[in-house]
Amino acid sequence: EPDERAFQERINAGGKIEPKDWMPEGYRKNLIRQIGQHAHSEIVGQLPEGNWITRAPTLERKAILLAKVQDEAGHGLYLYCAAETLGVTRDDLTRDLLSGKMKYSSIFNYPTLTWADMGAVGWLVDGAAIMNQVPLQRTSYGPYARAMVRICKEESFHQRQGFDIMMKMANGTEAQRKMAQDALNRFWGPSLMMFGPSDAESVHSAQSMAWKIKMNSNDELRQKFVDQTAPQAEYLGLTIPDETCKFNEETGHYDFAQPDWDEFFDVLRGNGPCNTERLEARNKAWDDGRWVREGLLAHAAKKRSAKMAAE
């Protein structure tokens, strides 16, 4: 098919696909899934950090955390807008999130249990997210690529803030060091899982890479993440909960053990520590907010018709 060939050639040449351009149905569908999941992750991702806003230890930390969570909501907004250019509405996507039909990043199904988790989330979770997202600034779909540019700028700021919290904790009192180590212990494996299973097992990978909506292999990014993070852990004086995690002179990379993939699939199936709570929280917000959305819509309609009557 000539359309499809032209489309692929344009991508190969580094061109951008824009909303009104022809695109294969699979491309559209895959993008909706991917951007939608990413948007949902930003939204659900507010919850584990929101859990500590009311307990932040200083006014400054509270402000930083609030700003961060606000940014995440903003990222959700950009991404829903990007998805909408593909012909779905935000409400459609939201309903699929709330019914459990669409997923969000599994990492947000883990609980935040101490203040150090705010550090670990920034350092590890945002760190892993950035690894995934930086290449996506060059993705083939224009609105998505542009959203990623804005998002990446803010994410790397968040990651630095997270690392800063970890430094304070790691250089703090004995209890703080303990919290920091405990946070690393709990978030290390789940962070490695953020890149997805090995590409060998991944269904969508080859086509997605050809379409440039996936830019690197999962294993490649995971290795990059470990290579970046392991020396940072050392710098913090914390121990990565993996005895095999060592620099390998031969490969020039850090060796590391695979995370517990059984746990990953458990979480995907809905059995993560917080799956139920997260979906309940979002569903409750949506249901409790119905009267507000309806009220504001009704008011806007009244104003419109009053304006039309006056014209």
């Binding site: 009311t54 200083t58 006014l59 917000a285 009267w291 309806e294 819509l297 806007a300």
Partner: protein
């Protein structure tokens, strides 16, 4: 040391601290994404103002207490926020009604303080006026939109107003601290702000098709600290937890 000035600064700072905390409780669970963002933004501004007011309070006191020390290491009786600020969020309507009532007072107050004889206060007020102007526009719009929305949203907003109304009067009750502030040209007489407040309130309520309650009974005891509501203590268990549990840590 200037005790009435310290008290006055705590009142300003505790209002923003306590209301900022309440607003931040909404994080991630607002009715629409845009509201999540707006509420976080409001909370953020209020926390920022808290740093300025309580920071200055600490300086004025001269006992080596900074804004964090004041925020996280006082118990209920030392808090000086108006009772309105510590009232629970309730539904979104109650939260926005509380915000509108507070914002409207807050903006009038800050505009007056922008002309304070105390330059530092005038500067804090001037900076805050910009933020609070936006808060007040937003909360007024929401009160109007929901008051004049559906039957349900109207009913909920009227209920919110009826419930919060008894906490409005305290904002305008003066005492010896206020008298000292007036005398020094630092701050206005609280009662003098009422007429402007009422006229702005009446205009918004009219557009929102809401009825101002007839009974003007006013609860008090927040800004003097004499008797807060039971809600504040529960808020502090959360807010101050880490500081109380790990007093030697720095964060």
């Amino acid at each position: 040391m200037n005790t009435p000035l310290f008290e006055f600064l705590c009142r300003m700072g505790d209002n923003t601290l306590v209301l900022g905390h309440r607003v931040s409780e909404w994080c991630g669970v607002a009715p629409v994404l845009e509201e999540d963002i707006a509420l976080a933004n409001t909370a953020l501004d209020l926390i920022g103002q808290t740093q300025l007011w309580l920071g200055m309070a600490g300086e004025v006191e001269g006992k080596d207490r900074d804004a964090d020390k004041l925020a996280f290491h006082r118990d209920v009786w030392d808090f000086r926020n108006a009772l309105l600020c510590e009232q629970p969020n309730g539904d979104f309507g109650q939260t926005m009604m509380r915000q509108f009532l507070f914002d409207t007072w807050h903006l009038i107050m800050l505009k007056a303080l922008a002309g304070s004889s105390n330059e530092q206060i005038a500067a804090i007020a001037e900076k805050s006026v910009k933020e609070v102007t936006y808060h007040q526009e937003r909360s007024a719009d929401t009160v109007i939109g929901l008051g004049d929305g559906t039957e349900e949203s109207h009913m909920r907003m009227q209920k919110a107003l009826d419930k919060l109304w008894p906490y409005v009067g305290e904002l305008f009750i003066g005492d010896e601290v206020d008298a000292a502030m007036v005398e020094q040209g630092i701050a206005p007489d609280p009662a003098s702000l009422r007429a402007t407040f009422d006229s702005q309130l009446d205009a918004v309520l009219a557009e929102a098709t809401l009825t101002k309650p007839a009974d003007d009974f006013a609860h008090k005891g927040g800004k003097t600290g004499a008797r807060h509501t039971e809600h504040l203590g529960h808020m502090l268990t959360q807010m101050q937890w880490l500081q109380r549990a790990y007093p030697d840590a720095s964060w």
